[in-house]
Amino acid sequence: MATIRILSRILSVLSTVTLLWTQSGECNNGRRSGDAVDTDFSGFSVPLEHSFEVDDVPRFHLRGALQLRGGRENSVYLSQNQLSEKDRSTLKDVAAVDGLYRIRVPRVSLQVDRQTERQSEGYLTTFVRACSLVESHLSDVITLHTDVSGYIIGISIVTIPGSCRGIEVEDEVDLEVFNSTISVVAPVTAPAPETAPYIERMEQEMEKKGKNPQEQKSFFAKYWYLILGGAVFLMATSSAQTPPGGAREQS
């Protein structure tokens, strides 16, 4: 048993790597973000840190490394360590007292050329209830949100399932390896009023109408009976009124 533990500690397996937009992964773990000048497309890595303490005072330590790649299609890999024996028991303890499991990433920009001008100042943090992380057997979904220019502005973590039902997680193996899904989300462009398709549709309607022979009748053709009726009526009324007028004229 002890040997297995040592082995697992030594190997430090690269657990789960999820790729959102497929791009050839190039591993350069040790690269500092600052010196990446000529590597526009090879990305850089930032640490993903987590904290779970029974006293709920955050003490962050490394969970894994995020491989970020800017450009038109942002992509991200996560290489992370296994949880140690001690971490596992702490996590269970934190879950038992309904503590929080927090993660944080430094504030960086995905645009590598901006890295030099803006070093990370501060972190973006978020949390999930430790119990839900335990009960989901470390299945979490981490989302990094960027703004229009590629700065990371927020991070969110959810576990699937997200509830805390108080299920006992017996097996140590379930809490060894993170089963993470990680993605980068850029803002979507909100739609503008769609005038062109509407006008097109209107024109089509008009055309259809134009082809319809019934609709093509002229004004007189359509309403000849009304006009005739009106004219007859007018004539009738005017002829009825003329005699007194005429009589007056004569006198």
């Binding site: 501060g122 943090t125 502005i153 959810v158 803002p187 909100a190 509407y198």
Partner: protein
Amino acid sequence: MAWLVVRLAISVSLLYAASAVFEDQVGKFDWRQQFIGKVRFALFDTHSQASKKLLVATDKNVFASLNSRTGDLFWRHVDKTGPEGHIDALLMYGQDAVVVVGNGRLLRSWETTVGGLKWETVLDTGSFQAAALVGVQDLVKYVAVLKKSAISLHDLSSGSQIWVENLPDSDSVQYQTIYSGGNGVVFVLGVVPNSHIVIVEYKIEDGEIMNKKSVEAVWMSSLESSCAVVSSGILLCVDQITQSLYTLPLQSAEQTEMRQIHLQMLDLEVVSGFRPVLTSTQPNPAQPPLSEFFLQLSPDHHILLQFIDGLIAPLRDFNPSYLAAFATSGERTVAAVMSPKNDTACSINLFSADTGRRHLDTTIIYHMDPNGGKPNRLYVHAFLKKDDSVGYRVMVQTEDLTLTFLQQPGRVVWMREEALADVVTMEMVDLPFTGTQAELEGEFGKKAAIQDGLLPMVLKRLSSQFILLQAWLAHLWKLFYDARKPHSSVKNDVTIDILSRDEFNLQKMMLMVTASGKLFGIDSKSGTILWKQYLENIQPNSVFKLIVQRTTAHFPHPPQCTLLIKNKDTGLGSLYVFNPIFGKKSQISVPALPRPVIQTLLLPVIDQDYAKVLLLIDDQYKVTAFPSTKNVLQQLQDTASSIFFYLVDSSQGKLSGFRLRKDLSTELIWEVVIPTEVQEIVAVKGKRANEHVHSQGRVMGDRSVLYKYLNPNLLAVITESTDTHQERSFVGIFLIDGVTGRIVHEAVQRKARGPVHFVHSENWVVYVYWNSKFRRNEFSVLELFEGAELYNSTVFSSLDRPYAPQVLQQSYIFPAPINTLEATLTEKGITSRHLLVGLPSGNILSLPKMFLDPRRPELVSEQSREENLIPYAPEMPIREEWFINYNQTVSRVRGIYTAPSGLESTCLVVAYGLDIYQTRVFPSKQFDVLKDDYDYILISSVLFGLFFATMISKRLAEVKLLNRAWR
């Protein structure tokens, strides 16, 4: 055919939405009050004795004429806001009022009877200094306008410019006043601070400089505040440091020095730290001013002085006196002086200006409102009585912007509360039950039921029933009594005592907080001000937040409101706790707030007195609870782990979430930082706490249900780009969960610019922005859905919603600029929603939410018709009948407040700006109310008819049966 279907669909949908007021409904459940703002200039029309006109110009850029008998508006002109429409000066001569607008940009002449514009002239650029009427040989013909570097003379009847002259040495000399005594010349007075005065004399005919001289005056810093012209062109100045008066004849060429008269010689002294004020009067611009003038030596000490033959003689000393003013009627000039009488009243007396003798029987007693401010302006309207004695009326303006018009012997003719022209925030509170209703309520109270046995309960029930009967009889008697009286005398006697909740809770108490720090309690049905309270020592740039801590629903406990007053600069706040029904200050001890408050939070946690707990978070993230009884603290400890709050720091673009700890400290749990280099946060809005959503989902055309994403913790964050170039500017919309900090949705509206107005409600956000590319206003709507299945249908928890919602969005063109946006709100949320759009034209548009639905299809299908979706059209219609305020426009509408009523169909709406307008809207028509013109007689006669017909036919049938049986 498809086109026909589209049109049919549109017209059917319009049938649903049509909501206009019928002609006979005008004024039935709506009212409007018009205001003008803080009066800066007020002139009485002394042209004719019978004139009732009072011309006012205010700090809200309003120029209006009031009826001095009733206080109503004859007419009102609302100019542009800001410095562009600022009224610099108001002069009146005969029927004409001349106004200088926009820092000397425009010169306008108004006809005062109907308020028509006679002429308007655009003046040369330059900042405005002074304006004066100029008369020649007893006739006022011109108006002179002094700018920083030029003087121009305009004809009074046409506005045409007679001449314009540049002022000599205008870059070193500050020209500040004009004086003309009617002798063919205009004097322009300028000062070089702490050096000398410059006097330039212009000839009226052609603007030729007749004379120019400079007089040494080392002590002088400003002409305007310390100098006046008295008698036949004598410049009189006062200086508090040397404690002297200085005189100088303007016309004499030889005198090159001002003559100093020590105030000591007159046995006078200026209170240290007070800037003495000189007030002179020039009844006719074509004649020199009077030789009498007021000198104010301290805030409550005036003295009437006279200048004769180079000597100054005191006529009368008014000590103490708050305010003094001159007024002229015909040939006689009088002075009115307001002096304190006792703690609650002031007396105003009239004195003849030339002798200082008091006119007999001219006292007006002015009762100061104990809940109001001190008087600070006095306007006097003097008139000649039939016996040739002088009568007068006064208008008093107080610190809290109340205008009171008084006549002898102290009768208040009218009152205007001009503080209401600047409402900052408001709330609506239910009215309490009447005594009898409360009695019934008390009967079934918890405590009573436990203590009493069966018999006392029966007795109680009987007695309360008896009280109800009594009340009903009294009500009937009153109805009968009122019916005999003429109709006009019945209405308009709303007082606090008789106020009670009506059957459908349509009448409420409107609490209005104004920028000047005055609170108002207004009856929503009639608009009557039921109470007012002026809070003294409010900084002009304070921010107010009104919180209803306890509603009227908890009977023995009075309702309780808390007003948080926060200084914008220091952030320091204070709490004012009061009873919203009676306006009385509550005796509850208020926590001291030594540190700036950055966030407030009203919790659903209630203390043993049913008051909701208010949490105040200071800049060190410490939490203060109010009320903070033991019970509350215990409850807070128990629920601490589920109390989350967020903070916004727009200067750093930071949104952060905190959680309460058991010891009432806080911990940071999430952080979102939006870089300020790219965009800045302009607004953050959650949902309204009192909002109910009736239906969890929407039924689709195929009978499946699309469930709404109803996250009560969702925040809508709006950002604007720092880059304002029309191609690159954008508006950002972030939907962030306030508990977990999860960004639920993030969208960017390209080529868009603020100001952004938005409403966040139910599962949707509607926002309006300016499209900088097409130069038009556009509406956009976001709707969030969970999908065809609910994750957890029983309870919503932000901590347990792993799947992101589906977001649908659509945009529309709105063919008008807008001022403000709000959504209707009803009791249970069953009624369809409308958006209330305040337009700059003063109209309030009630726009059905149906038109703002991202599911409006491009092409009509069977399913979309089934769902009643209107086919997509890029332009939003504006229909006249959707204006809920028909012709009762609300000037400069700044906010709309909506409140639910007891009727599900009805939503109460208050629009405020310069005016206040209250009405009711029925977004789905009055489905739960019988119509006004419902034919009761017909229906009852039909009913009775049928009833008797059945009776008779039954009888006949019986007879027939009997007969048949015999056969």
